[in-house]
């Protein structure tokens, strides 16, 4: 059973009298442990797809099953709980809270899942160790570089041990070296068995992942299926393409 099962998902917006199909009859599966990228030009619907997969939005039609739960018709409260427990987000603009320090930012998801203060601190420190920022826990986000901020965001996304991490243009706001480091971090996280989905418009970044889904005009244009393309070849080719 796939971690995520998307069946005939459409998202239709009404702008004025016009009907806009941001997603048009999309179906796909994402398996546990996959490192996958969604690629497409801006306005293609890739962000909409990520929002729907990330439980920030609900589809107009179709069904979605995440980790065995049907989420396409879940209530706002249920979606919030799923976001909290099963999903991690990493954004282009880091989206850290500037008034909180690094540790508090990482603790934030656990506050909403009701984890006690001591455990919260320990787990946040563990997550910071994972991204190599344990000695910056008392800094404010504004005192960190862009790459460091993004790593804090990744630590925050991982702290509740989510089923899947969505990264929306995670390198979009970073210079190429820092971006490279962040991608390497994702790669190593993936090798630890985490399910990660990169959303990007940049084919070079998408090349890092073994599997790519290309979206055009709300439809899946091309699936690069590891089983068809050969998983081993891609895994070894990906670092070469990135460097």
């Amino acid at each position: 059973m796939a971690l995520v099962e998307l069946r005939n998902v459409s998202k239709i917006y009404h702008l004025g009298g016009e009907e806009i199909r941001a997603l048009d009859d999309v179906s796909c599966d994402i398996h546990e442990g996959e490192f996958i990228s969604i690629i497409g030009p801006s306005g293609s619907g890739k962000s909409t797809l990520m929002h729907i997969l990330g439980c920030l939005d609900s589809p107009t039609h179709g069904t979605i099953k995440l980790d065995g739960t049907m989420i396409h018709d879940a209530s706002a409260r249920e979606l919030a709980t799923i976001r909290n427990r099963k999903i991690g987000f990493v954004f282009q603009f880091f989206n850290l809270l500037p008034k909180l320090n690094v540790l508090q930012n990482v603790e934030l998801p656990m506050i909403y899942s009701g984890v006690g203060g001591k455990e919260r601190r320990e787990r946040a420190m563990d997550a910071l160790k994972l991204v190599g920022l344990e000695n910056r826990s008392k800094h404010r986000p504004s005192q960190l570089s862009g790459g460091q901020q993004q790593r804090v965001a990744i630590a925050r996304a991982l702290v509740n041990s989510p089923k899947i991490v969505f990264a929306d243009e995670p390198t979009g706001n970073l210079d190429s070296n820092t971006g490279e480091a962040i991608l390497n971090l994702f790669r190593s996280l993936s090798s630890q068995g985490r399910t990660i989905m990169l959303v990007t418009h940049d084919p070079e970044i998408a090349a890092v992942t073994p599997r790519r889904i290309e979206i055009r005009d709300g439809k899946i244009a091309l699936k690069v299926d590891p089983k068809l393309a050969g998983l081993d070849r891609l895994h070894s080719a990906a670092p070469a393409a990135a460097s």
Partner: protein, 471 residues
């Protein structure tokens, strides 16, 4: 998110915008402090008035006073007899609801007493029955009250209040010891009287406390010229107590036979408005009319029937001429109640409006705050904050501002009350009650909740996707 986290977050948010939060709180501070101060002032007045009401002797008292005839009886003015001692006897015989009687014959236009080489104007110089002590809640502290025999023989004896002693012999504060002039001779209208008793010193609770406090402190050396403190000498003494202290009582018969009979009838025969002697001066015959007649009834519930009973009896003795009127303490008590209620309503209204203004201020600042924190709300939602988490966070923030304002307001109200009583020293100290404090606090919490409601709903309904895109 649990409540504690939300409260901590609220404090952090306020701390992050110290000046803005302080300005916002100011509305609540002013509202709460004016509410507390207002209720303290009203409470002070209420307590003072109730004390005064007790001091003049209960609610079961009815005062019968002479009155102008009603218009349709004006032509009967010649036959109006006035209230006389006969009325008392008639009431004793035929008004069972009345249990106590105190006729009073006052010195027309007050009177002067002199003794110890000094002279003093008396506010309340009256001839009474011994029952007057009971009726007016007097306590004879030294000597004795005159009795029926003194009354019968119209003896030249009197009982005085402490204010008379203070003026003629000096007050205990001035002399350092209490002078008890019982047995001394006092001249009332140039007629020598023997003082056989003195009442206790009447004062309100607050005056007593103040006096005792002053007595504890070392006496200050008077350096400047001695100022005349006027009547009573008590400064801010309540009128009721000053009046009671400034009393000289003598037997009713003595007043009638010795003072009134000896009174030059210039102000009597000719100056009379009514009565049998009008137009034909009766030299040597004193005016027998009473200044007032106070009676006590069995029970306050019987007030209306008792008045009816008295009315019936008096209509008979006065041959149908209604030259008297009733005055009950209940009227006064009602007036007090009405005054207190009005003061409460107007004070509450003012304080309520300023609390409302404070609440609007909070709502305004909360709306501004959430519109500058749209992105934060989006982030919180994306990592799993539910709508109600966001709602509670904003609401708690608003309540924290209001509660802090409320606490600061309660502290301020204490200073405000001190300030008001310094600014306008009344005879009634403002009393800050726990109820008022609690009420004000509850109000500020309520205002905080109300003011936070709309911003909290607005924040909780933000779409996370749009909120994350917001700059």
């Amino acid at each position: 998110m649990d409540l504690l986290n939300a409260i901590v977050l609220g404090f952090k948010e306020i701390w992050a915008h110290k000046f803005r939060s302080l300005l916002t709180m100011l509305g609540i501070i002013l509202g709460v402090s004016s509410l507390v101060a207002m209720s303290a002032l009203v409470k002070g007045m209420e307590v003072g008035m109730k004390e005064a009401l007790i001091a003049i002797g209960g609610l079961e008292k009815i005062r019968i006073e002479p009155q102008e005839l009603p218009v349709e009886q004006r032509h009967l003015a010649e036959q109006a007899v006035g209230i006389t001692i006969n009325d008392v006897y008639a009431l004793q015989a035929s008004a069972p609801l009345v249990i106590d009687y105190s006729p009073e014959m006052r010195m027309p236009g007050g009177g002067r007493v002199s003794a110890n080489g000094k002279s003093e104007r008396v506010w309340n110089l009256a001839g009474v029955w011994p029952a007057a002590v009971r009726m007016n809640e007097h306590v004879v502290a030294h000597g004795r009250m005159f009795n029926e025999i003194d009354e019968e023989h119209a003896r030249s004896v009197c009982v005085i209040g402490t204010a008379i002693r203070d003026e003629l012999w000096g007050s205990p504060e001035e002399k350092g010891e209490e002078i008890i002039p019982v047995g001394e001779t006092i001249y009332i209208n140039q007629i020598p009287f023997t003082i056989i008793g003195m009442f206790q010193h009447y004062e309100s609770e607050q005056e007593r406390k103040k006096r005792e406090l002053e007595a504890l402190q070392p006496k200050q050396q008077q350096t400047g010229p001695v100022r005349d403190r006027g009547w009573g000498g008590g400064g801010g003494q309540s009128f009721v107590f000053r009046f009671k202290n400034n009393t000289v009582y003598m037997p009713l018969n003595t007043m009638w036979m010795k003072i009134r009979a000896g009174f030059v009838p210039g102000g009597q025969g000719g100056g009379q408005r009514r009565g049998p002697g009008r137009g034909e001066p009766e030299i040597g015959l004193a005016d027998p009319r009473l200044s007032s007649l106070e009676v006590k009834i069995t029970d306050l519930d019987q007030l209306t029937p008792a008045i009816q009973q008295i009315h019936n009896v008096l209509m008979t003795t006065h041959k149908g001429v209604e030259d008297f009127t009733f005055r009950t303490q209940e009227d006064w008590a009602e007036n007090i109640q009405r005054f207190i209620r009005n003061a409460r309503i107007s004070g509450g209204l003012i304080a309520g409006i300023s609390l409302l203004v404070g609440g609007i201020g909070i709502m305004n600042i909360m709306l501004a705050s959430i519109s500058e924190r749209v992105r934060e709300i989006g982030i919180r939602k994306s990592i799993g904050a539910t709508d109600s988490d966001v709602f509670v966070q904003i609401l708690i923030e608003s309540v924290v501002i209001a509660v802090l304002g409320g606490i600061a307001g309660m502290i301020t109200s204490y200073a405000l009350v001190q300030f008001i009583s310094k600014l306008a020293p009344t005879e009634n100290t403002p009393i800050v009650t726990a109820t008022a404090l609690l009420l004000a606090f509850a109000f500020s919490v309520g205002i905080g909740i109300l003011a936070g409601l709309i911003p909290a709903v607005k924040a909780s309904r933000l779409n996370p996707i749009q909120a994350l895109r917001y700059d």
